[in-house]
């Protein structure tokens, strides 16, 4: 667009005509924007900034919470490890004690079993020898009873009876 005034002057320069430059209307429009835009845009920007700040604060809070939880968990881990070590060493001690105890008990048991076996053997031997003795005595009596009728005549019989009676009378 070109206004006739420009042809007259030519070259670069300033045009200070109030109406040709439309400066009055422009200043009104710019003033209107200046009044209106900061409220509109400023409101949007402020809301955006507030939202971001809230987000940041949330994130920071979550970070601090998470790091606190992490620390707690680490502490718990350390405590648990310590406890595990303790339990492990306790277990070792107890295992050692149980092993010693059971060894001792085994040895004792073996000794007891050995002794028991020995005494059983003695008792059996005693029983067998007494049985043998009794058997021998029985057989001797049987043999004696077999041979008794041949050797026993009237006189000896009478002697034996009187002897027995005498024994009875003495007693």
């Amino acid at each position: 667009m070109n206004f006739y005034s420009l042809f007259a002057s030519g070259g670069f320069g300033l045009n200070l005509d109030l109406f040709e430059t439309n400066i009055i209307n422009l200043s009104v429009v710019i003033f209107g924007l200046y009044k209106f835009l900061p409220n509109f845009l400023g409101g949007i920007l402020k809301r955006r900034r507030d939202a971001i700040l809230v987000d940041l604060k949330d994130a920071e809070e979550r970070l601090s919470e998470a790091s606190k939880a992490f620390e707690d968990a680490q502490k718990e881990l350390a405590a648990a490890e310590q406890k595990a070590d303790q339990i492990r060493s306790d277990c070792k001690l107890r295992a050692e004690a149980i092993r010693l105890e059971s060894e001792k008990r085994t040895v004792e048991e073996m000794a007891r079993i050995k002794q028991g076996a020995a005494s059983d053997l003695n008792a059996e031997a005693a029983r067998v020898s007494s049985q043998l003795r009794r058997e021998a005595a029985r057989m001797a009596i049987e043999k004696a009873l077999e041979r008794l009728p041949d050797k026993l005549d009237e006189k000896t019989k009478a002697n034996f009876v009187t002897q027995s009676i005498k024994n009875m009378g003495d007693s």
Binding site: M1, N2, F3, Y4, L6, S9, G10, G11, F12, G13, L14, N15, L16, F19, E20, T21, N22, I23, I24, N25, L26, V28, V29, I30, G32, L33, L41, I44, L45, R48, R49, I52, L53, L56
Partner: protein
């Protein structure tokens, strides 16, 4: 472009007057370059100032820039899709910010205080060359996006639902940059013209609502351009299977 004279009985109002810079055999529209550089400079300053001292809690310019970043990311992500939007976010964001600041700069900065030998300063996007350049960049981008992501399978897109679509899709490749550039150029130029004509007819008060409307449409146009660019790129990288 040629001259389109608007002749009024009591005043002369012309489009197509340019401050020509001769570079070799090219005649450049100098006023567009100047305002573009100013826009680029303003954007770079804003970004450098906003990111120089970055804080964890965003305040001031940093907050504004982060807000814009969020906005552009949402735009790119909805149009291009989760997979590829990261590659194209800078491009979409540059388009959006450049067009937006150009449009608003053209409408808000009192450029007419500065007299040029010929033509006048204004929004760079009110010149068809700027918008065509931007639209062709978008075309190149979506071709590159499709080809780099899918290789030659990109051309399956042309026969995608049925081969009958082939001519339409080919025509689309030409109409896309055309519609992009003309929509932006037409809207911004029309806005400037309407304001200029109204200022001629009724110098005070009446142009003000039209100027506000112009600010609104300018912002919408920037959004439309960026959204469509992102949509075209998204269409090119989309997987059909």
């Amino acid at each position: 472009m040629g001259t389109l004279p608007f002749i009024f009985p009591f005043a002369e109002l012309e489009v197509g007057q340019h401050l020509y810079w001769q570079v070799g055999s090219l005649r450049l529209h100098g006023q567009v370059f100047m305002t573009s550089w100013i826009v680029i400079g303003a954007l770079l300053t804003l970004v450098v100032v906003g990111t120089r001292k970055m804080d964890r809690d965003p305040r001031g310019v940093q907050n504004l820039l982060e807000f814009l970043w969020d906005y552009i990311r949402d735009l790119a992500r909805t149009q291009i899709g989760e997979k590829a939007y990261r590659d194209w976010m800078p491009f979409i964001g540059t388009l959006f910010l450049f067009i937006f600041v150009s449009n608003w700069g053209g409408a808000l900065v009192p450029w007419r205080l500065i007299k040029l030998p010929s033509g006048e300063l204004g929004a760079p996007t009110a010149d068809i060359n700027t918008t065509v350049a931007l639209a062709l960049l978008v075309s190149l981008s979506y071709f590159y996006a499709g080809l780099s992501r899918k290789g030659l399978r990109y051309f399956e897109y042309y026969v995608h639902p049925t081969p009958i679509m082939l001519p339409f899709k080919i025509v689309e490749d030409f109409t896309k940059p055309l519609s992009l550039s003309f929509r932006l150029f037409g809207n911004i130029l029309a806005d400037e013209l309407v304001v200029a004509v109204l200022v001629f007819l009724v110098p005070l008060v009446l142009p003000i609502p039209v100027m506000f409307l112009g600010l609104f449409t300018s912002a919408i146009q920037a959004l439309i351009f960026a959204t469509l660019a992102a949509y075209y790129i998204g269409e090119a990288v989309e997987e059909h299977h």
